[in-house]
Structure formats: C-alpha cells, structure tokens
Amino acid sequence: MRIAVTGMGIISAIGTSLEENLYHLKYGVTGITRSENLSTRHNGLLFGEVKFSNEHLARLLGLPADNNFSRTAMLGAYAAQQALENAAVKDINHSRTGLISASSVSGMDMTEKYLYDFKESAEHRKYIDSHHTGNVTHQIAGYIGVKGLVTTISTACSSSANAIMMGANLIRTGRLDRVVVGGTDALAKFTVNGFNSLMILTDGYNRPFDANRKGLNLGEGAAYLVLESETLLKKEDRPVLAYLAGYGNANDAYHQTASSETGEGAFLAMEKALALAGLEPGAISYVNAHGTATVNNDLSEARALERIFGNQMPDISSTKPFTGHTLAAAGSIEAIYSILAMKHQLVFPNLNFQTPMEEVAIQPQQTLKEKKIDFALSNSFGFGGNCSTLIFSKK
C-alpha cells in the first residue's frame, strides 16, 4: 500500500504559500528577524515569525469577532485549508477523511495573556477551553470541515512528523482513505522563556552544524499534507506530489531534554525508516536535517548520520536558518521542504555555516545545488528522546 501526498499547505516566517517558501529557500533569504507580534521582555532575540497579526489572520480566515481561536489554531487552520485547496479536494467527507494534527504550545499564547484576568472578568474566558491541544485540532477540523477520525499528537519537536506517521498507518490499515496531517505552533512567552531558561537560544542567527553554533532561534508556523490511499486515487484522479516511502520513530532513552552522544535514537529512527522503505542508505540523495543549531543536537545528529551513511554522505542541510525552530510544526514544514527539494531537484542551502565541527567530518551544503533527487529524508527530534524520520520518494 503506497501513501500518496496530494496536497500541501504552509505558513512560516518565509511565506504564506508554497511559492513564497520556495522562493526564499532558493534565493537564500532568511525569515529570522526581531519580533513584531510577540510581547516579550526578551525582545533582543531573533525569531522566525509569521508577520501577520492575530487580527489579520482572523480576517483572512473569515472568523467571527467573538471567535476563540488561539494564534496556534489560526496558523493551523490557514495551512490545513491551503493543503486541501492544493489537493483540489471537493467534497471532503465523500471519502473517509481524518485529521491528525500536532501542537506543543497549543492555546498557551492566549492563556499566558489572560491567566489572571480569567478570575476577574468573563471577557476572555472563551480562551479557557481553547487552551487545550485537542481543542486547537477541533477548531482546525471544524474550519476545514472534517467529520470523523480527528486526533492530536504532542511529542514536542517531533510531533508533526509523528502525525504524518499516524495518518499513514490509518490508511495502511484501511481505516481511512484520506488524512490531513501536520502541525502548528505559535510563538509564545511560554516557549521563549522555556528555551531561554535552558540556555539554548542564540543571541544572533542560528548556525546549524557550525563549530561555533550558539543555539536556536524560535520560530512559528504550520504545515499540513494531504495523504491519500492509492485505492482512492484510482477513483479520484489527482496529481501525486510525492509518496511517503518510509518512516520510523525511536526513543533515545538517554535524558529528558538532551540527546545521547552517539545519536542512538536518531540512528534507530533512520534505520527503521530505511527498512520500511526497503532502501539502502545510498538511495537517499538529500537529508533535511533536524539541525537546530544547539551544541547538543547537531553533534548527536551528525554522529547518527555518520553511523547510517558512513563515507557515502548525501547532501545535507538544515532549513532552520530560514524559519527558526517551529517546534511541533517543524516536522511537517520540513516534510514539505523535502518534497519541494525533490520536485524542483534542488538542495536548499544551510545558511550561516562557516566552520566545520572538529568531532565529525560532516559539512552541510552551503549553496543552492541542482541535483537528481529521487529520495529525500527528513529528521525531527524532540524532548523526551523522541526521534522521527520520514522518507519521501518522487515516484
């Protein structure tokens, strides 16, 4: 049973459409800037921010004035709707369609504004219920009109890669014909301060795989893919953008937030994905790395990549210098970038890289490179040792 990708929708710091995102990736234009919409004491930091205010997003979505969408839900609804339009799905509930969404921060952007006001006045209490991760998904399902199997995955920064896997399994076991999968996270004081207290935010631009990397820039965004069974596609002829060829999840079981020195979880996730795809490592011609630019992640991931690929290393880049680390949305945003890389036969550059790490031989691709890409691999790792790998194929 092959799983086809027939639609993609995205909103990130480098654009509110597939075309805008592709343009920035091709021409090496970053979306990392100072924040315009986020109110935080740490306003000297740089972020991968979507430059739409909440009011603007609500207008674009046509939400009523008394809506209780968090920013996370609005970004998600925007990208999920775009994915369905991209797939040109007409009657969404004509076939068994589900939604598997992912988020980590969920409605926290509103809760952190109104936590103490809730008691004093009833005005903002509408956001109490929309705080829940599951309710963000309900709002997105309601917006795009999915009735049926709807659920949410939250495994920190690998969440939306895992949502893609869950969706694929629902199709493989014959439970669904079509599933909208992806993730959404908005910038919030909660995560800015969380990562800041862990001392893994850079004070400049993030530099994945560089010896002098200082940490990540937080980002926000949402991305969704439409997955469909081949049986459904025989009935409803739609162009296939790519196939999900393999996927794997494993746990590093090393530390709640840090990755192991050997990259064991990442190694196992890539190994499982290759096995499910029935591929040798040599078949992969592009890796979109997790590459957050933290000291710990990049070394651990590099070691895992070296264990998988040996001295046959494919071209590698992290696209987080464009978008920042979009947490639960990163897996699906980068899944789309991997598919765009295959579609346009391009390796996107790993910006800001200067000095190779001493510990490993790995060097990311620094400029745009034209290349035959039949299989692209995307990594996403999260707190709790959660390691996920997706492999997409052109045919």
């Binding site: 939250s154 399994n169 909660f190 207290s197």
Partner: protein
C-alpha cells in the same frame, strides 16, 4: 492482520483499584465535586529522590505501567504509547505562573522541561531503557482511545509484538477553578457540569494471548463531533464492520457523568435496551479526559471474571455469559469513541 489481546492492566483512580480488589469496597460519590486519585505507596516502585522531582501524573503512570508490565511478564515493551488530555498541568502551571509573576526573569528550566506533553511516555522509556516507538496523544476525551488505536495498529502492522499503552491525567486546584468558571466542572454538587477527577490506567497489548489474558480487543474508533441523531448509525456502522449486530452485544459500558450531554448515553442505551446490560461507572471515578482507561480496565476484568461488581448493577440483574462488550464515551458532545472487546 494479527489479533490483539489485552494481557495485563492496572488502574489508579478515585477508588482503591490498585490493590488487586474489584470494587468490593467502592463508594458512590454523592457530594464531592472533585475526587482525588487514591495514590499507591510510591516507595515500593520509585526512589524518594526521584519521586520528589516527579509530578503526580508521572508517578501514577510509572506505577500503573510497572504493575501492568509485571503482570504481563514483558520487561521492556516494543512500544510505549500514552494518552493524556490535559498533559502535565502541574508543571505547566508552575512555569506559566513563574513567567508572569517574575516578569520573564529568574526562571529555572525544571518545570518547563517537565511541562511537555510527552513527559510521561519519555519518563517511562527512560526508566525501562526502552528505545522503541514512543507516541503521545493529547486530544481531550479521546486521548487514551487514540493511543489505544495506535497500539492496535502497531500490532496489526507487525511493527510491535507487544505495546505498553495507557492514559493519565492529573488535576490542579487552579485548573479545576478554570473548568468551574466555564461550567464544565461542578462548583457544588447541584450546579451544571461534571464531577472532576484524575487517574491512570496502563495495559499491555500483544499479538499472542497468555495465561493472564483478559480479552481480545477488536477495534477502537473515534469521531470528533456527532449529533444525537447521528449516534445510532455511528455505533451500528462500527459493529457491522466487525460483523456484529446490536443484539450480539452483551454489555455496554457507558460514560454518563451527570451533565447535560448524558442524552448521548441515553440514546446509545436505547439501541441496546432489549439485548445488553448497560453499566455506568463515573459515579465512582468522576470525569477526566482519560477516564476511558478506567472503563477499559473495568470491562476487561468483567470479561475475564464473568462478574459485574455489585455496586455497578442497576438492579439485581442475572446476566448470561459476557462475550462482546462495547465501551462508549464522549465529552460535552465531542470526542466520541467506541472500544469493542471480545471474550477469548
């Protein structure tokens, strides 16, 4: 595709469900609006040093999962799948209040690290050194059912021979107050909403039955939003997929919680009125997002022991053999789920 068996289960709830008994001394709640979970003696499972750092959800989950694994004879499962509706709210609240109260200054990362929704699944994996598949579902009242569905698929797709799967939710006073403000939770026993609670239920599912097997788990299904009129066809459609008619169901475990959405359960009970016994359980456990894990524990034991605890019987019913059991749950008209169990 492989059949899936429930080979072990353990529950922590507002009743003494962790001591091996089967609700012999259970008490029906008539006055409290919040029922705290009866916590086991953690010392037998977790060192006091480790215990101090763990939230209630993590502790309940670690102990319930340890007991389930022990019963199943599996030491390290192939996969760990967790459901939690509200997540680690004790630590989330702690970190959020620290941010606001200190104007984003002087923060330490501990509670942020532990606020992540997958903390429970990660802590279990760390404790067992389990490098397998590890997913966490967070979708209100179908969080546990989503985890269960994934566990069944892992076995069906032969990605795992056995899976540790569970649901857990904890409560904080402020979170309860927020739920009361919007009428979802009762402020006193006479007001609208439901009685809130907390708990954990963990199970070992496997592709092969053992001596400890409780039941076969046929399938789970979810539906985000249904009208009462749509409910009967949702239920009969699911049964038909498994070649069953309503008349073949022997027991229905229904999630009535006393709020205005109980009409859904009445509609479901009506469908089975001539065939099955319907039991309710939230008068014992209260309501929380992953309370279906308790319902699964309950249904599994009823099937295995062919005995319905006295306290759950609506009247002195004499029941025939209990072969097919359906668990139905929803919360506030959303997140409908059906779990179908069969006697082995």
């Amino acid at each position: 595709m492989s059949k899936v068996y429930i080979n072990a289960g353990a529950a922590i709830s507002a009743q003494a469900t962790f001591d091996g008994g089967f609700l012999e001394n259970a008490v029906i709640n008539r006055q409290d609006v919040f029922l705290p979970a009866i916590e086991p003696d953690y010392k037998a499972f977790i060192s006091p040093v480790a215990s101090r750092r763990m939230s209630k959800a993590v502790k309940m989950a670690i102990i319930a999962s340890a007991q389930a694994l022990n019963e199943s004879g599996v030491s390290v499962p192939d996969a760990i799948i967790t459901g939690t509706g509200a997540g680690c709210i004790i630590d989330s609240e702690k970190f959020l209040k620290a941010i606001i109260d200190n104007d984003e200054q002087f923060l330490t990362p501990t509670s942020f690290i532990q606020s992540t929704h997958n903390t429970v699944g990660a802590q279990i994996a760390l404790g067992l050194n389990c490098k397998g598949y590890n997913f966490t579902y967070v979708n209100g009242a179908v969080s546990f059912e989503s985890a269960l569905l994934d566990a069944i698929m892992q076995i069906e797709l032969q990605q795992a021979n056995n899976v540790l799967v569970g649901g857990v939710d904890e409560m904080t006073p402020y979170f309860l107050e927020l739920q009361q403000m919007i009428g979802h939770a009762k402020s006193d026993i006479a007001t609208v909403g439901s009685v809130q609670s907390e708990g954990a239920g963990f199970f070992v599912l496997a592709n092969t039955p053992t001596e400890s097997t409780y039941a076969a788990i046929e399938d789970v299904t979810l539906y985000n939003k249904l009208s009462i009129a749509e409910l009967p066809s949702f239920i009969t459609g699911f049964l038909r997929k498994h070649h069953l008619e309503p008349s073949q169901i022997d027991l229905v475990v229904a999630g009535n919680n006393g709020d205005v959405f109980d009409d859904y359960y009445d509609k479901a009970a009506h469908l089975f009125r001539n065939y099955a016994i319907t039991v309710q359980y939230k008068q014992l456990t209260g309501e929380y997002f992953t309370v279906s894990a308790f319902a699964l524990w309950l249904a599994s034991r009823i099937i295995k022991e062919q005995h319905i605890p006295e306290i759950l019987k609506p009247h002195a019913v004499k029941h025939k053999a209990i072969k097919n059991v359906l668990i139905y749950n929803q919360y506030r008209g959303l997140d409908h789920s059906l779990i179908l169990l069969k006697r082995v």
